[in-house]
């Protein structure tokens, strides 16, 4: 059955496929940080970029049959949680002072 064989080889994925997908997700995250002016959505885009990096770490870990990438992903998760906590606390404080989370409004640190 040549058709089935062609389909199977087309569906064969390797390291490059996962890394390409990771690069696409990372670029979407960069686009979000660059183009959105809402600080909340910018934070979400940063999380998206971190997840894309996690995907590439896991792919390399699978490719090299080496568990060190998984430990690195665990650390990235912890740092992302810390970053989200402190960042959103700062955002809440700014919102109380400015009544806005639009980064175009943030021109100075102190008022």
């Amino acid at each position: 059955m040549p058709d089935l064989q062609g389909l199977t080889s087309a569906l064969q994925v390797g390291l490059g496929h996962y890394l390409g997908l990771s690069a696409i997700l990372f670029s979407i995250g960069v686009l979000g940080v660059v183009f959105r002016r809402n600080a909340l959505v910018m934070f979400m885009s940063v999380e998206l970029m971190l997840t894309a990096v996690n995907l590439s770490l896991i792919s390399f870990s699978r490719f090299l049959d080496d568990m060190h990438g998984h430990v690195m992903v665990l650390f990235v998760l912890a740092v992302a949680a810390a970053e989200a906590g402190v960042g959103l606390a700062i955002l809440v404080e700014i919102f109380r002072k400015r009544d806005s989370v639009d980064v175009d409004e943030f021109r100075q640190l102190m008022e």
């Binding site: 690069a23 979400m44 998984h70 989370v101």
Partner: protein, 190 residues
């Protein structure tokens, strides 16, 4: 079979990521991002990273995104800036990001080497924790310290100050600063 899952979850992840950055409402964005994280967790599972898939669902799609949603809903309806974006700057930014993504996809996704077979212990809780508590013991403890510092910092930052409480920290110190400066200026005048 693995390829089928890759294309399925990968396509949905990319679509929901695009939806995340294009939706106007941050709450809608957050829900799309949760969906994207769930699909990435499924991709982790296809890479036999079972513990990481579970943690992606529990920590990212669960804890962190609930935190985002909580803050988004706490802030309520936010007003948008009246400032018009500079189209030239946006054009430059778009071209730069597009070039970056094309380079990254070309470099990383050029030739695709197939994954080798791995043993059944790859990605299990046991093997990850063996590594975590032997080779990475010191970084592991540091992460605990980091999380503690982050929690204390977040509480200090987001604390609402009662009037006249001991915790009121910025306003009095600044007024005393300006008072001292005024006194110095007065002395200079005299």
């Amino acid at each position: 079979m693995e390829g089928l899952f890759f294309y399925l979850f990968g396509t949905v992840a990319v679509i929901s990521a695009i939806a995340t950055i294009t939706r106007k409402d941050p709450v809608t964005s957050a829900f799309w991002l949760i969906f994207c994280f769930l699909n990435v967790a499924a991709l982790f599972a296809t890479l036999s990273a079972h513990l990481m898939a579970a943690l992606q669902v529990l920590i990212y799609a669960g804890a962190i995104m609930v935190f985002f949603l909580f803050v988004t809903m706490f802030l309520g309806k936010v007003k948008r800036s009246a400032a018009k974006p500079n189209p030239v700057l946006y054009g430059i930014a778009f071209v730069t990001v597009a070039a970056l993504s094309v380079i990254m996809v070309n470099v990383t996704g050029g030739e695709s080497s197939p994954f080798p077979e791995v043993g059944p212990e790859h990605g299990t809780i046991e093997s990850v924790s063996h590594l975590l508590l032997s080779d990475y013991l010191f970084p592991f403890e540091l992460v605990g310290l980091l999380l503690t510092v982050a929690v204390i910092g977040a509480v200090l930052l987001a604390r609402r100050e009662a009037p006249g409480s001991r915790g009121a920290r910025i306003t009095p110190s600044r007024s005393s600063e300006s008072g001292r400066e005024g006194a110095v200026g007065g002395a200079g005048d005299a």
